[in-house]
C-alpha cells in the first residue's frame, strides 16, 4: 500500500460518498415530476432534500479538488478532453440549484410548474451524464502521447456509455425513491411504493446488461477480474446488497433498505474502480499512454500533506454530515422556512 494507492482509494470513497448522497437527491429530482400530483406534495419532496442537497454536492466539488491535487494530469486531460460534456454538467448543475432555490419564491403556478420541469429534467440529465462519463472511463479514451485527448460530445455517447448512463438514472431513481419513502407519509408514500418494484426491475435488467457488456467487450476490465477471481467479491457484494435492499423494502424497513442501496452504489463504483486500477484513464490509442495513479500523480510530499489534511478534515466532515442528517431525521413537514 503506497500513497498513490491510498489516494486512489480515497478518491473512490469520496466519489462513492457523492454518489450515495447526491445520488438520492438526483433520484428525488428525477422522480418528483412523476410521483407528486399536488403543489404541496412537490414542496414536501423538495423540502425532503432541501436542508441537505447543498452539503451533498460538496462531495463532487471535493472529488474534483482531490483529482486536481492528487492526480493533476488525469484531471487536466479528463476535464479538457470532455470539454463540452463538462460544460453541459455545469449547465445542468446550475439549473438544478437555481430551480430548487427559486421555485417556491413565488406562488404563481406557471412559475412553479416551469421550475419543476427544469428541476426534473436537470436532475435526470445530470444522472445520465455522470453515468455516461463513468461508461467512457470504463471503456477508455483516446489519449495521445502528450496526455491529451479530444472527444466530442457525440463521440462520448457510445451505446455502452449510454447504457451505463441509463443504468445510473435508474439506480439513482431507485435510491431516491427509498429516501423519499423515508421522508413521506400517506398517499404520496403509497404512490412511491408502487414505483419501487418497477424501478428495481428496470435497474436490475440494465445493470445485468452493463455487466454482460463489460464481460464481453471490455477486455482490460474483464481480464483483471479473471486474473484475480477473488476481486469478484466486490460486484457480488453489490448484488447481495441489492437483494438485501429489496428484501428490506418489502418488509417495510426503509432506513435499512436505504443503507443497503447506498452500500450497493458504493460497491458498484468500487468494482469499476478495481476494474481500471491502476489506470485512471485507459488510452484507446496505445496502452503506453495510459494515465495511471503513478504517472499522473502529484509528488509524494504533496500526497502526504493532503493525507494529513484529509485525516483531519474528513472525520470532521463526516461528523457534520451525520449531525445534520440526524437533526433533520423523520418525516418532512412544511413550515414558513420551507421552499
Amino acid at each position: 500500500m503506497n500513497l498513490n494507492v491510498i489516494w486512489f482509494g480515497l478518491f473512490l470513497i469520496i466519489i462513492a460518498g457523492y454518489l450515495i448522497l447526491d445520488g438520492f437527491d438526483l433520484g428525488v429530482g428525477s422522480l418528483h415530476m412523476f410521483v407528486a400530483k399536488k403543489d404541496e406534495e412537490r414542496r414536501i419532496i423538495l423540502n425532503s432534500i432541501g436542508p441537505v442537497w447543498d452539503g451533498n454536492e460538496v462531495w463532487l466539488i471535493l472529488g474534483g479538488g482531490v483529482l486536481f491535487a492528487a492526480f493533476p494530469l488525469a484531471y487536466a486531460s479528463l476535464f479538457s478532453g470532455f470539454y463540452l460534456a463538462m460544460m453541459l454538467v455545469l449547465l445542468v448543475m446550475i439549473l438544478r440549484t437555481v430551480a430548487i432555490e427559486f421555485r417556491s419564491k413565488r406562488s404563481s403556478s406557471k412559475w412553479r410548474g416551469a421550475w419543476d420541469i427544469v428541476f426534473g429534467v436537470s436532475s435526470l440529465l445530470l444522472a445520465l451524464l455522470l453515468g455516461v462519463a463513468f461508461g467512457n472511463v470504463l471503456s477508455g479514451v483516446p489519449i495521445d502521447a502528450n496526455g491529451n485527448m479530444q472527444v466530442t460530445l457525440f463521440q462520448l455517447l457510445t451505446p455502452f456509455a449510454l447504457l451505463v448512463g441509463i443504468t445510473a438514472v435508474a439506480m439513482f431513481a431507485l435510491h431516491g425513491s427509498i429516501y423519499l419513502s423515508l421522508k413521506t407519509t400517506g398517499e404520496l408514500q403509497a404512490r412511491l411504493r408502487k414505483w419501487m418494484p418497477r424501478l428495481m426491475s428496470v435497474f436490475f435488467i440494465l445493470n445485468t446488461l452493463v455487466v454482460l457488456a463489460i464481460f464481453l467487450y471490455r477486455d482490460p476490465i474483464s481480464a483483471r477480474y479473471i486474473s484475480n477471481i477473488w476481486l469478484v467479491i466486490f460486484p457480488l457484494g453489490a448484488l447481495i446488497a441489492a437483494l438485501v435492499a429489496w428484501y428490506l423494502l418489502r418488509k417495510g424497513q426503509d432506513l435499512q433498505a436505504f443503507i443497503a442501496s447506498g452500500t450497493m452504489i458504493a460497491l458498484l463504483l468500487i468494482s469499476g474502480g478495481i476494474g481500471i486500477f491502476p489506470n485512471l484513464l485507459i488510452s484507446t490509442t496505445d496502452p503506453r499512454y495510459n494515465l495511471t495513479i503513478y504517472n499522473a500523480a502529484s509528488a509524494s510530499n504533496t500526497l502526504t500533506v493532503m493525507l494529513i489534511i484529509a485525516l483531519i478534515g474528513m472525520p470532521l466532515a463526516l461528523l457534520y454530515t451525520a449531525g445534520v442528517y440526524y437533526f433533520f431525521r423523520g418525516k418532512t413537514e412544511l413550515d414558513t422556512h420551507s421552499y
Partner: protein, 468 residues
Amino acid sequence: MNAELLSRLQFALTASFHFIYPPLSMGLGLMLIVIGIMYVRTKDPKWRRLSFFWIKVYGLIFAVGVATGVVQEFEFGTNWANYSRFVGNVFGSLLAAEGVFAFFLEGGFLGLMLFGGNRLGPKMWLAATCLVVFGAHFSAIWIIMANSWMQTPAGYTIQALPTPVRAYMTQFVQVMFTPSFIPRIMHVWFASWTAGSALMLSVSAWYLLRKRHVEIAKANLLVALPFFIVFSILNALMFGPVQSTEVTNNQPLKLASMEGLWQSQSCAPLYLVGWVNTTTETTTGISIPCLLSLVAYRNPQAVVTGLNDFPANLYPPINLVFQVYHFMFNIGFLLIPIGVLGLIWYFWKRKVFQAGWLLWLFVVTVFLAEIAITAGWWTAEVGRQPWIVYNLLKTAQGTSPTLSTGEVAASMVMFVGLYALLFILFIYLLNGKIQQGPEPLEDVESVPVTSLPDSFREIFRRRPARAE
C-alpha cells in the same frame, strides 16, 4: 478570436460574476452574527424579525454563489489544462483543502441556518449561522492562498522531468503563506465586510425613504452604520496601503502599471484620475505629488520603479489596470465621507433618518462597494498578465491544447445566456424579498421561541420540537 482569447474572456466573465456573491456571504454573514448576538443578549423580538428576513436574503445570495463557484473549479481543468498540469502539485492541494475544511462546514450547516429558525433555539441557530459564516471566511482563506501563490509563488521548485514541466512543492507552509497572502486576505475580508454592512445600510435606508417598516429599519440602520464606517475606513486607510506596499515589494511592474508611472523617480505622484497613453508612453491626469512614494515606501523621497525599467513584452494592459485600480481606489475613498456624514447627522443634527439625500447616498453604497470589489479583483488579475503564475508561466502557455475555438465559443455563449438569466432572476427575487420586507414574527414563527431546543443536550435528547 481564438480559443485562448475566448478562454480568457470566459474566465474573466465567470470569475467576475461569481465574485459578486462571496463577499456578500462573508459580509452579510458577519452582520447576521451581529444581529443574532443582539437578539440573544436583549431578547428584543425586532432582532429576531430581522434575522428571519436577512437569512432569506442570505440563502438567495449563497445559492447563486455556490452555483457559480463550481464553474470555477471545473474551468481550471477544462480551459486551463496545461496550467493545471503545471500547478497541480501546489495549487491543487490548496483547492482540495478548501473542499475538505471549508465547503463541508458551509454546506453542512447551511441547511440548519436556512431551515433552522423554527427548529433551533436562538443560541443554536446563531451557532449554525456562525459555522456557515466561519466556513465562508475559511473558504476565502484557501482560495486567496491559492491565488496569492499565483501572484507571488514560493515554496516550490521547477522540474522538467518527468514531462510536462511542473512546479513541485518544497515547503507547504511557504506555499500557504506566500508574501502576498496576509495583506491580500485582509484586504478581501475588509472589503467584503464593507459590502455586507453596506447591503444592510442600503436596504434600511431604502425602507426609510419609502416610509416602510420604519421602526425596524431605523434599528437596522443604526447597527449597520458603525460597522460600515469602521470597515470602510480601515480598508481604505490601512489594509489598502498595506496591500500596495506588498505589490510594490513583490510585483513592482504591476504597481507601475496601476499608477501609470513611466520613469523611475523619487517623490512619485499618485493619480486621482488619468489616462495612460501607451504609444507616447505618457500618463496625463490629476495627481498628488510624492504620494505614491509615501504610500508605497512610507517615505515621500523614495524611488518608485517606472515602466521604462521593465521589458515592454511583459507589460500588462496598462491603461486597463490603471483605470480599474483608480475605480477601486476612488470608490473606496468615497465610501468614507458617506459613512462619516451619517455619523455627523446622527450625533450633531439628530436627523439622519429624515435627511433624504443622505439616505439615498446610503442606498447606493452597496453598489459602490460591489463595483469597487470587482475593480480591485480586476486590478489584481489583469495586473498579473501576461503571467498566469507570476514570472513562471505565461497565461498563453496555460491553455488546454485540445480546445477548438468553436467549443469555447459555444460554452461562452452558454455562460453569457445562463449568467444573464441568473442575474435577472437574482435581482428580481432579491428585489421581491426586499419589497416584501421583514415579516411580522407571528407570520414566520410556527412555534413559540421558548419551546425550541437551545443546547446540544436538548437537540440530541429528544425529537425536534416540530415532530412532537
